[in-house]
Symmetry: C2
Subunit: 330 residues, 2 copies
């Protein structure tokens, strides 16, 4: 498991000229190029989503949204592209985007080595897809882009001291799948207290991650732990048709996804259950009432994926100008 | 010249399902793919720049910056990537990025059909390059990506009613170059009052643009009209080593660029001359004092380029979720 590391360097010049930064950024860009190639080959259209808007994803656990004043109207910086992903399916059946997000994470995350206040997501959404379609697509995408990067950038892996053999099992695919309830049982079995009704905590994710040799999916998280847009199991109320993809070696979460709710009444109910005021979501709810396609999709944290592939001690090493909670930096 | 059009549709569903939107967005994505291919072929490395930071580009004429509260510190949304482009040259000699920018344009721009409050730029910067290197690169880039799009997307041009012959002259390259002083003389010659000491006004740009059959460069703008980072002519003080690229047919500005100032004392002087407080730019000035490479580069407005290539009446038609001054929309 990677060591905890200190805060990002206060000297941006030193960070930018560090060979580790250069190699990590080259790996990041190759991962993104390979992802574009893969997704286009599957018929996905790339889009440029907004970064400001009247409302944003409320589902980011523990973090605060950023307000801005847009000509006298209170707007938000995007915490994720979820609302725009669903809406964009009106234009194209399969879409993806690579865009920045801002989440004011709690101050205590500054030293976790896995949180950035500003980061990027590779977001994917497909009309008519099921949760399991999205899981399969995420696995194939990760196998493709990691495989391509390992093949094409041997010098960068050597520079970083990252053994490409770390991905031998990943490249075989067949990522494990464990339901949230099973993951909770596994954690309790090794002495880690974990609530059945809540998101896995960071330590629990890291413990599961350290026991695997390749990325693995955790599925069927309980309602209450996630945003209103994750579809509930019709036969298993209280559970959601969603998933996370966790990296092995203790690197933790890489990706979150789900089948989406596209039923107006259900969304309004779920908003109320999660403490959200439907009035705020007017443009989104108006579109949903007119009809948006059923869909499934996911978002991959670009810097977190880069950290895992490059074998970095901290996620901030995967950003040219990293921002962590509470620290002033470029 | 394109007609003036009304405000963006208040119904996002109608905009997203409009065949014009779909074709315009496909053209936009092809332009960006072709740009990535071209720039990588020339040895440029793509980067993901920040969208928030302690300070941003003050050079955006007439528009206001957006403040945010970053853990008690006043940050800005990026109006351009210029400061990060110069800094990134410490990591790589040639870089580019495609990123969102936010500029609160004056309310009266809502109906100009050429302004968005949120837009994207394709930003390019090369260490050791001169202004003329940047001009040549911008021309070759535009010829390559427009040529590729015309060849590969005939259906989209047909759907939009845009005759690919509109680009016959563009594809020959050899874009015209006119110095700012010559452009002023030309405008005065056709009865348009234009100050020699100021940026060309919108109407002047459109008049010049309507008289050309392919994109053309305007160079050597006067000091005072541009940001502190444009390098001054050593032999011709008061003039800057910069340029704009304007589209023909009245579509106006596509791109702005310059050779950059990288001398600490000169930058501080230029900041003071342009009314900027150097204290605000601490991280940037600290880096410049330690040394950043001499460079030149440019930024292409992605939606404006898309508008020109797709032959759209208004720039908002080149965005899936357009935002114009003062109008609340997704």
């Amino acid at each position: 498991m990677p060591d905890a590391t200190p805060l990002p360097p206060t000297d941006p010049g030193r960070h930018l000229t560090d060979p580790t930064t250069r190699s990590a950024l080259r790996i990041q860009q190759h991962l993104l190029s390979a992802a574009r190639e893969f997704l286009r080959g599957r018929g996905f259209t790339e889009l440029l989503p907004p970064i400001i808007g009247p409302v944003t994803d409320p589902g980011a656990r523990g973090s605060k949204q950023v307000d801005i004043d847009f000509y006298g109207h209170r707007y938000k910086l995007m915490t994720s592209a979820i609302l725009y992903k669903q809406a964009s399916l009106l234009a194209f059946d399969k879409i993806f985007c690579i865009a920045p997000n801002v989440r004011l994470e709690p101050l205590e995350t500054a030293g976790t080595s896995r949180h950035l206040a500003e980061f990027h997501q590779l977001d994917v959404e497909a009309a008519g897809a099921s949760r399991d379609d999205a899981v399969r697509l995420a696995e194939e995408l990760v196998v493709h882009i990691v495989g391509s990067t390992v093949r094409e950038l041997p010098k960068e892996f050597a520079e970083l001291g990252r053994d490409p053999q770390a991905f031998a099992d990943l490249l075989k695919g067949s990522f494990g799948r464990v339901r949230h309830a099973e993951a909770v049982a596994e954690l309790r079995g090794i002495g880690h207290p974990q609530s059945l009704d809540a998101e896995l905590d960071w330590e629990g994710e890291a413990l599961l991650s350290a026991r695997r040799d390749r990325p693995f999916f955790v599925t069927d998280y309980p309602k209450g732990s996630r945003g209103f847009y994750d579809r509930e199991h019709p036969q298993d109320p209280g559970l959601l048709r969603n998933f996370d993809l966790l990296a092995p070696e203790g690197y933790g979460e890489l990706c979150s996804g789900s089948q989406r709710t596209n039923d107006y009444a259900e969304i309004v109910t779920r908003m109320r259950e999660t403490g959200e005021n439907p009035q705020k979501y007017r443009w989104y709810l108006d579109l949903v009432r007119e009809g948006v396609p059923a869909s499934a999709g996911f978002g991959i944290g670009v810097e977190r994926l880069t950290r895992y592939v490059a074998g970095l001690d901290a996620v901030w090493q995967a950003s040219a100008f990293p921002k962590v909670a509470g620290v002033v930096s470029p």
